[in-house]
Symmetry: C2
Subunit: 393 residues, 2 copies
């Protein structure tokens, strides 16, 4: 063929991170068959779905097998039962949104990737280091990207660059993946004020909101003025163990307009044209998460993981290793000891403690010299990893 392809794809960097990790682990294992390797690298959950979710999905499966209760095409934006449930849930954070502002989807990654469909050409501001989808989806659509440097000096929480006065699209992730850093109300108010002043849009990724402890914002909509300049994307993946079950939501406020055009209507049209809704069975599972019992069960999942985070954090403190995260986030972002590079520390940990983590460099150049550990492992392995770190560091 000689059709024209989207040439922006050829500007993407090959993503070697997880394949390179897998390769190094494989090579090490082959030479050290007697050694037990503990993985604290990937951002995937390990605890099963909770009982109310399982019960609810069994019921929904039965409904789908019966002519009288069978459901065909779901509304593209989600059934009202789940849109309204999500809206109600936000009340616990003091946020008032309508069900029709909630778009239910198969994943935060999908929505973060697809949101570019409704946007034109704008300068894009993306933290570095950060979750790679923000950058890659904007490279794919040929956008110009400027990085917001997240550094040890700003506690990995970059603030507005007042020298940029044009309208931009700003990606923020709090609690942050990979750094675990969390913005305060005051900091997010500065971001929202900056967005309003410059006419910019903030795309706020709050996938780790339920890991927050203490008085920190769970939603950008806790901030005055945010409905005029923000879209929020959240998910059940980490909150309720839905990484392999797939349910997320995007909030596009009715008040969100650019030059008189409502973004809610544009996203609705995008989803109605290119998406056919989340499986009914999954929507019923998701609904159950937000029941009283479901929320208790999800909280227990988060607490289990956060106890792992506490155990890892303790040994790092004990050894004087600088880190952020681990309090209101399942991720611990540490400075590699002895000024080792990200991959050097990766090899050091693998060879000397048989622990696999994620080199910070994989999340952007700003991550070089840092390293991500996750608390999503099981308790037994985490405890063993902690003991190994205690001996090694």
């Amino acid at each position: 063929m000689n059709i024209n392809l989207n040439e922006n794809f050829f500007k993407l960097k090959e993503s070697y991170l997880f394949s390179e990790i897998a390769k190094r682990v494989r090579d090490y294992s082959a030479k050290n068959t007697d050694k037990k390797i503990i993985k604290l690298g990937i951002g995937d959950v390990t605890l099963p779905l909770t009982p109310v979710v399982i019960t609810s999905m069994h019921k929904a499966v039965d409904e789908m097998g019966n002519k009288d209760s069978f459901r065909g095409y779901a509304p593209e934006y989600g059934y009202n039962f789940i849109r309204d449930t999500v809206a109600s849930f936000y009340k616990t954070w003091g946020v008032s949104i309508e069900g029709e502002e909630v778009f239910v989807s198969d994943g935060a990654k999908s929505d973060l990737g697809n949101i570019v469909d409704i946007l034109g050409d704008n300068l894009i501001l993306i933290p570095d280091p950060v979750y790679p989808v923000y950058l890659d989806s904007n490279i794919m659509s040929g956008r110009k990207v400027k990085f917001l440097n997240a550094t040890i000096e700003n506690n990995f929480l970059p603030m507005p660059d007042e020298t940029i006065t044009e309208s931009t699209i700003i990606y923020l992730c709090s609690p942050n993946n990979p750094t675990g850093a969390v913005y305060s109300h005051k900091q997010l108010k500065i971001w929202v004020d900056y967005a309003i002043k410059t006419g910019s849009l903030i795309i706020f990724d709050s996938a780790y909101a339920t890991f927050i402890k203490g008085d920190l914002p769970h939603s950008i909509f806790e901030i005055d003025g945010a409905k005029k300049c923000c879209i929020e994307i959240n998910s059940l993946s980490k909150m309720a163990g839905f990484t392999g079950t797939r349910c997320a939501w995007t909030i596009v406020p009715n008040a969100l307009e650019s030059n008189g055009h409502k973004l809610n209507k544009m996203w609705a049209r995008r989803q109605a044209t290119k998406f056919n809704g989340v499986p009914y069975i999954i929507q019923r599972g998701a609904e159950a998460v937000f029941s009283e019992k479901g929320l208790q069960e999800s909280k227990a999942l988060v607490e289990y993981y956060m106890e792992n985070a506490r155990l890892i954090s303790e040994v790092l403190k004990e050894k004087g290793v600088w880190f952020t995260g681990g309090i209101s986030s399942p991720y611990i972002w540490l400075k590699c000891p002895n000024n080792l590079g990200s991959w050097e520390f990766f090899d050091y940990l693998l060879n000397n403690a048989q622990i696999v983590g994620t080199p910070g460099q994989g999340f952007g150049n700003g991550g070089e010299g840092y390293f991500r550990l996750t608390s999503f492992g099981d308790r037994e392995n985490t405890l063993e990893a902690v003991e190994r770190l205690r001996k090694l560091l």
Copy 2:
């Protein structure tokens, strides 16, 4: 805000079709509360998921509730168990494809909409009338579209326009939605030869393939040379009643290249960046469809609907109404009697027989004067509708 939006969205026509139908039905019902309305309009299935699918999903739900069998993130392209199963299924059509050429997704609509992400600016050829997603997703990305006129003269099966000699993107749907027309091997060979000659890409929508009776191609890959110029998109929605359960697949052959770039790798990158896979539970349900028992059960669903199609077809033949489809497709596409317009015939049927169909005009200007009836209703209602048509026409 004053960010730049994707202004192509403002060129989209508002889709009033199904809301206008709903409004007219509502108005009629309000005035005629004693009349029973029979809906033969929407393209949604009514029979429940089959027993093997239900059993398989219950098992998968249980696995997700147990720590030892729990599954987190699925591979973005689908588990090998389903990719390989789909590839094996194609052998029944004499087509040899590899599992890695199969990308499993949440819907044909998603893939048909998202495929534009990997394509550059090309002239787009789209049949008229046709399923609206082809047109809308290309308008959204600012492409120039030329219609392939499907008319009564070509039996609603447009063939290549030899005056177009440049490389284009060609959308074909066979069996066709809404016309039910099906291309022969000979006709598709002409299309494939034309695509190869002009360096074009064919995007082949085969969502209704299992409705085919007799010696007609189920897959574009039955045609010699197709792997060099075709992508095929198919789904379990109509084949196994998955409209509310969501599982589809797209085949991007390894041999498919444009100017040295492999489209399989580009689609892989698109999906890995903007999609996180189909729920494990749903993938297990989908796998069950392709088991020996599952295929028998799916066949019974299709046969049930096709008996409805036969009943509707018979009364149309009896009354001398011109139509196509209804033999290898669940859709019957009829010429409105007495040269009525699509909406005039809609009102006529609603007012005089309380039957709701879909005005052909809703699928493009070429559909004006035509009307779509579907066989997805239940038997009892379909029989009653047939009797009403027998009296009315």
